[in-house]
Symmetry: C2
Subunit: 195 residues, 2 copies
Amino acid sequence: MNRPARPPAGLRERKKAQTRRTIQEQALRLFLDQGYDNTTVGQIARAADVSSMTFFRHFPTKESVVESDDYDPLVVRLIEQRPPEETPLAALRHALQEGLAGVYATDREALFVRTRLILTTPALRARLWENQHATEEMLTTALAARCGQEPALRLRVTAAAALAALTAALTVWVEGDGEAHLPALVEEAFAALRP
Amino acid sequence: MNRPARPPAGLRERKKAQTRRTIQEQALRLFLDQGYDNTTVGQIARAADVSSMTFFRHFPTKESVVESDDYDPLVVRLIEQRPPEETPLAALRHALQEGLAGVYATDREALFVRTRLILTTPALRARLWENQHATEEMLTTALAARCGQEPALRLRVTAAAALAALTAALTVWVEGDGEAHLPALVEEAFAALRP
DNA sequence: ATAACTAAAGTTAGTGACTAACACGGAGTG
DNA sequence: CACTCCGTGTTAGTCACTAACTTTAGTTAT
């Protein structure tokens, strides 16, 4: 159970982490300033004061700088904690809402900017779907473990539909310039799944 | 209402269409032979006896050779023909099933090979999601037009969920080496959306 | 039929994402 | 203090894709 705020743990590692953070910050700044496609890896590297190679040592692709993907394990944990009598879909809905609530309360602005960047950049959007597929598999497994079933087609569909609902809500949220209440949008999106 | 089988319509156009077809055939052959990532555009061009530039004159990206996307307009037409008293989800289910039935009856083997190639190649899978997003918008619009509503969040979620169900069914179909009855899988996938 | 028009295809020379191979230098360890 | 390792820089590539220009060949008009 290693919570964040790990002790300094060695100068070398700290420097590495620092480099990584700097690259990511500069990348996001440049992407927002001049657009994703108009920004080259070389520019990012120069802004972070490293060589282009170092960029790829920390991030396998240009797209991967934008991702976070710290949510998946959190949501899986939340699913495990849902009462077992809940339907899979309800468990997913509550777990996703809980997970979102935290981010929404503390980092709403950052979430908005990042989401808009992703949804308006084709290359990043494509990457997003790929990640969703991985997330879908994790959710399916978590759901299957919860009620003893094996990960069948139906659970897969449920997980995929839940993620589709979440994405649709995020899309509408961004299209409305972030003025709507995101949790309410998510709730409405999930409502469309129980006709 | 130009049905296929258009008259020859000029030597130049025919030659162009022929070149395009050759490129696509050779590309698919090479992809299946040696894998997508191990095949370069230059190889495809050489196999089709054209220059690399010509490849990009016919297909904007290497990924786009694999797509067909002739389904979207067909499905939209099928949606418009569904009886108006059907729920949006039911209309989608029937339209997608009808559209699939045609391909499944005549081109099952080709559908299987192409689907497996896409689902097992990360770059193509990413592209698939992108296309699904476009499809989702068309379906949402079609659904909205059907029952006079405006394209709200709920319809978007419905369309996205339906596509997720279809994709899940296709995935399971491919994982089972194409031995299952695809329409039945689709039916089961949609069943998961009515709990 | 031949000349004039035009669109498809080739050629060349790039950019940018990403990789492999090797060298350097400072952080970790005895 | 020496020795090892690991993060980084350098160089030289490959491959997808683009732009500018030329060549070739189908089409059209004289």
